[in-house]
Symmetry: D2
Subunit: 273 residues, 4 copies
């Protein structure tokens, strides 16, 4: 595919002493229609800016870390292929460094492929929350206070346990919070949903992987404990006892510009130590 | 589907004081063409027996445990739907008890559905080993001696480690040896291959799940350690340093007669304690 | 030893439809000098009550669960042998049921032995927090937000990691929160301190056990994350970046009335499922 | 302490192209009474050699890896302080490189301190096996075949499980095989015995730490499975169903020459990846 219009988004508190972002803006301004989010516009000395939720472009460049991409995914008005450029340490979603990006960007815009990454639809009772790229975490609002959970998969009772919380993750999220909670590493191409109890108060709790097309249903069983659901570390909602959370495959996967395929290398490098 | 011919296989050392097997043979002899393996024929007082590798039937009843099914799967001459009847404790593959089986069998034979369970093709260099229903374990022949392994997935280097061995498992096998080695529990419908190091000599080893259509390639890196590959605890072959093991999806999945769906219940019951 | 004075403490929200507590008060009022905390006095219809922090007795009966004991340990004005009587499910510290306690109490008061259980002294900079019977948890105040920790043991750098938190536990606490975080089970007689990262963001984190006489020093490394330290789920204090937490053996161990020794049985029963 | 006589032991298959061992022999021959094991004598071109089990010296230098030390500990005729010099990668017991050892050895021999490291006495029925520096592993003789174990601690039933085996380890051994099996890392100063099931076939198995003065009793419960006990990877004995293995603190701890204290650094370096 070929991109005629490009959006550029930068991390809110980005530091760019070498001017990578301004250089990229200048270079691309000769080539394609550009939409700059306010942070990027300010860094590049451009007067006109577009809020993220109004950027309709063929392709989006994001300068920052994985968190910037997670936030943008919740704001963008339509599914758009993203190329993540890391402005600090390499991430699982921001795999290109700014110098490489600068030299490769012409080739990329002229001819790029798109990779789909499954996301998770999250419903709190009948209310739809943003889809999760990495995970939804359900956790007690008061840290270190245990709650009680009951999980059904496709209508079958799976498990109940007392725990600090539960992580429901995509394969992409298997290297993020789900990994910290003790989950397995999933190749992002696996079609599954990961369920990992967070600090469960029983010896036999184990991570699960269920089919990507499953309906995972989570109930909170304790009257007096207020909990919350956090989607991708970005969106938070309160959850109480009678509430039911439902997790299914999101209709719109995230789109990424294909750029090498270093998944196993990243796991060794980023998580190995 | 409707079965006109039925094979019956019994565990080699089966004990059947209540005569369940003889009763089943008698009941079915009025209804369908029967093929009895030698153990079953002997128990039922029938002269004519058929070796397992010559049983061509519409459906197979297996009296025994999961091990009997794993063994039969390696012997049967063609993929045939199996109904496992447990003659001791319930198993993940032998989910019906003999009394229930006796009362339900007419209905089952008249109208059964078949469930496919993915198996793993195992190649030692260019030599094809039997497909694995649960797992292939690669392990040093001298217990408690460490070996060194290197794993590639679809041509990408995944990980190397020193360990007692490696378990490469199907989702069905996630509740067998892979679970003991610390792997996650996979719903059998997930399309994936599980890779779990066995007693790895590094802190950062973690179970992996890769796509079901992957090519997993395992090399042994140590000159002086002889190892072996064990398929489903049934088939064993020696492995030496220059050898390469390759794991892919098996062309012929295992076929099971659908009989309830108690996967999550079984995990809680059988593995919970 | 023989008890001449007895304190009785009951859980704040205790339910006692069978009147076990009132019966015990009546029985003991003929035998020893009694001090009743306000909840107990109210349940027994006794006018005079003594606040927990003013109970000076030879022995304390606590009706409730492990939480009631953890709370009382922080309030009692001097180390006093405790006999925990469970008013719901059995606990690790409340091992006697109320009926058994009623029939055995005469024998106990006439001749009891005391078991010491090590506690952990917790210092936040120069400020002494209550000693921990089970554990101190250091955790980010906003759930599911990662922080960064650095740990020294006896002046030697042990490990640093990003995590939700850290659990520093006594052997007694090894069956409580430390177990949920993935720690080993320690026989309460082991002289050690357990250090377990909580949802660490690296693959190689592992639980540690260091000598009971060690000085464990924990620093928070992240500027912008507010955290808190929670002692036994009862006492909470805020922690910020420049703060240092120090853990050593507490000068005053907890004292328990010896009553059977069912540690391994309790682990199997309470945590096995 | 001051050493007047020194034994030198080298790994059976040691490679020493730079002549470190010969240099050390030459240097020390002017200073102390030397006892060279046959490998060392051959490398140093010295005619007279002493078998390891006849070396009575004040101090022993061992050139090799941890395995060489484990082997020597089983052969030496009396407890003697050991200084381990690594001839390849650094180990947990061989912490000095040969160049540093050469320059420091005069100071060491004139004034050294001894550190004790607890070992484990292992009894098979009434027969005493060599004490274990790291661990005793009980494992089925046929790899990947499960066995059944029952464990008592100080006469109390602790746990039974089906597993490939069990690791009973010292704190020193916590960074060796017990770590691979999923055990916690113990500071070597902790007074405890580690019990870790090896690939247990139940979800709730967890590592245990029991007091150093405990009596750990292990029974094999399965009739038909032959197993073996391996002490420190060096000594092997067969174990059958009626056999009972008993583990207690060894009367003679191992003695090491104090040389820095890099335990936590070694764990990070050697096991972190």
């Amino acid at each position: 595919m070929k991109a005629n219009s490009v959006g550029i988004i930068s991390r809110l508190d980005v530091k760019d002493p070498k001017g990578y972002i301004a250089d990229m803006v200048k270079k691309l301004s000769y080539k394609v229609k550009l939409f700059l989010d306010p942070v990027t516009a300010s860094l590049a000395g451009v007067a006109e800016a577009t809020e993220i939720d109004e950027i309709y472009a063929d392709l989006i460049l994001i300068f920052g870390g994985d968190g910037t991409i997670l936030r943008s995914l919740q704001l963008l008005p339509k599914p758009t292929p993203i190329l993540g450029i890391n402005m600090g340490e390499v991430g699982f979603l921001t795999v290109v460094d700014p110098e490489t990006a600068f030299y490769m960007i012409d080739d990329v815009l002229d001819n790029y492929e798109v990779v789909e990454r499954a996301r998770l639809a999250v419903k709190l009772n009948d209310f739809e929350l943003p889809c999760a790229m990495n995970e939804a975490v359900i956790i007690t609002s008061r840290p270190a206070k245990i709650s009680q959970f009951k999980i059904h998969v496709d209508g079958k009772f799976m498990e109940d346990f007392r725990a600090d919380g539960v992580v429901i993750a995509t394969p992409t999220g298997s290297t993020a919070y789900a990994m910290s909670a003790g989950g397995p590493i999933l190749d992002p191409r696996v079609d599954g949903i990961i369920v990992v109890p967070l600090a469960p108060y029983k010896l036999s709790a184990r991570p699960w992987v269920v089919p990507g097309e499953s309906v995972v249903r989570l109930e909170l069983m304790k009257e007096d404990k207020e909990s919350m659901v956090v989607v991708d570390g970005q969106y938070t909602a309160s959850v109480r006892k009678s509430d039911v959370l439902t997790f299914t495959r999101c209709d719109t996967p995230a789109l990424f510009v294909k750029f090498g395929d270093k998944f196993y290398e990243l796991v060794r490098e980023k998580l190995g130590r």
